[in-house]
Subunit: 340 residues, 2 copies
DNA sequence: GTGAAAGCGCTAACAC
DNA sequence: GTGTTAGCGCTTTCAC
């Protein structure tokens, strides 16, 4: 039976309010009273009951992070960033996974009901602008991450997908590559990270006056390593000439890297490869992987910041759209080939 | 202002108790009453206030998972397994990271106080048997994971470290390797995954009548990829002959793999490598990595099961020590070398 | 089958 | 500076 405020107040010989004052750092408590109370707290090993506090205050100090899956390195690193940012503000993070298909994503959104969190960070995977009512129906302030829904009902933090992909593609072009595979595009997709990155790829080719060959746009399933490997195997079997790969995330790139080398092609000499996300791992592949750092850490920080603002309610201003800057990181998989 | 039970009862024209009965599937409610109540709930978009429910019931339906860091693939995969197991039992998981050193681990344990969770799964990194009072001081039923504390104050689920490492080493021995590096050992460590795996390594060598060479025991820092790479660079600079590596986790193995290949050594021809953990990624390295599947998924399931038993309080029996079985998974990094 | 009412532990308005 | 007290929304005992 854990001790309550009441127990503490009795032991310290003061009222319950005084104990509460001490706990909440209310300044006007005499030093001697404070000492008595602290002694009682420590003797009883008292800890506040957070459920009671939440009930009373209407705040839980917990936020939810909705992501497709934690096993993906990108989301693990994102979750880590979010937890650090949240912890600075005294918030805990409850992670909820929804998998990789639209049905389970919808179902998690609909069934989570008011899970008694103060706010929600939701990394959209498959939903679209037309699903905005599902998002508006969430029972807590929400900030969207990801790139499928713009002008949604809530604040939104995103990365510069098109610009990043454009820079990645331009880098390969500068290195003299002309037959560049876009790995991870989904046929006909215009929104979402895939669609936007594909647009950036096209822009770069156009700007350089290089023909766009639809056969070089290789779909990448759910962007896992196996998808990258599988897609490249299939692509290689079609004997289409190529000398570079812009992969739409690092995991795809690493899968492709493996397959390309398996076939005896050298990276970067025969095929230059660049990914997207700057996962820890890209520093340790053979060769190390060039990539776009899309600003995952900044995204987490801005998102938590915006969410806290909404939670505090101090700010009922216009919905914000924030795009954080990206950085191009060149490593071995594209190096030493300038001017070829 | 969210609707309360009271609002619902008023709209449905019944008492608050009846609404509560409907929500909690109490059987003796007439169909017509139930229908009225459900209609009111849906009209008001009512969701129970979990804080109030927790305050009243003393249960939060949340468990904490304490791990060193989510960015490590192993812990991301473990967290995923735990969340799935927990979700089957209606529990949410609050992940708390404590980093990689003893001080922060202790500090998180001490300061988390009664964070109002029903139970705690704690993956021990640096604490030892002598720290058992810190663990006993946790304010909720706890199940330990990992391999530093046996005969602790709580249930404990572990993997077969020594047996797994022994099997891994034996595999290389069977392939004719005699100069096998133990990567990730910490000098003088006897407890913990590192100490146990090193013991298994020694056992295998002894059983095969192969001399143990202390110079082949290479420390691996915090078992990250960079540690594996760094340790192997240093080891290679010392020109000690070797033909195999038993790495104490997959991440170390992947870091080592990279460095070994960088130096022009062929895997598995010149150096056979085997890891530990069966990370998703080991299927996609070049070459694919042989490894020990230590049963991460089974560990998560058993741990949640044990924790739930303690939470329900139905069972105050003896503390349990559970070791889940392991599996050896042979891939390219050790293949084609039998009998060399 | 349904209703009235107590109380979980805390915070904060208000009184002294 | 400190004490009293109402009430957050829910579950549950006990009447009816």
């Amino acid at each position: 039976m854990p001790a309550t405020l009441h127990d503490v107040s009795r032991l310290a010989g003061v009222s319950i309010k005084t104990v509460s004052n001490v706990i909440n750092d209310y300044p006007y408590v005499s030093d001697s009273t404070r000492a008595k109370v602290l002694a009682a707290i420590s003797e009883l090993d008292y800890t506040p009951n957070l459920s009671a506090r939440s009930l009373r205050s209407g705040r839980t100090n917990v936020i939810s992070l909705l992501i497709p899956e934690l096993r993906s390195a990108y989301f693990a690193e994102l979750a880590d960033s979010v937890m650090r940012a949240a912890s600075k503000r005294g918030l805990s993070v409850l992670i909820e996974q929804f998998g990789n298909d639209r049905e389970s994503e919808l179902s998690v959104l609909r069934n989570r009901r008011g899970r008694s969190v103060d706010g929600i960070l939701y990394s959209v995977l498959t939903l679209e602008e037309s699903d905005r009512d599902v998002i508006a129906g969430l029972k807590a302030p929400t900030v969207l991450l990801g790139d499928r829904i713009f002008n949604g009902p809530t604040d939104h933090v995103t990365m510069q997908n098109a610009e990043g992909a454009r820079a990645a593609t331009s880098l390969l072009l500068e290195h003299g590559r002309r037959r560049i595979v876009a790995l991870g595009s989904h046929p006909g997709e215009v929104v979402g990270s895939g669609g936007l990155r594909l647009a950036g790829y096209r822009e770069a080719l156009d700007a350089a006056g290089v023909d766009v060959d639809e056969r070089l746009m290789v779909p990448g399933g759910t962007w896992h390593r196996a998808d990258g490997a599988q897609a490249m195997r299939e692509f290689l079997s079609r004997d289409i000439p190529f000398d570079g790969i812009v992969a739409f995330n690092d995991t795809l790139a690493l899968g492709a890297l493996r397959v390309v080398q398996e076939r005896g092609l050298r990276v970067p000499e025969d095929v230059a490869i660049i990914g997207f996300d700057d996962l820890d791992e890209t520093n340790y592949s053979t060769p190390t992987l060039s990539t776009i750092d899309a600003g995952r850490d900044a995204i987490a920080q801005r998102a938590v910041e915006l969410l806290v603002r909404r939670i505090e309610g101090a700010d009922s201003s216009e919905v914000e759209e924030v795009a954080v800057p990206f950085r191009i990181i060149e490593r071995e998989s594209t190096s030493l080939t300038r001017g070829v």
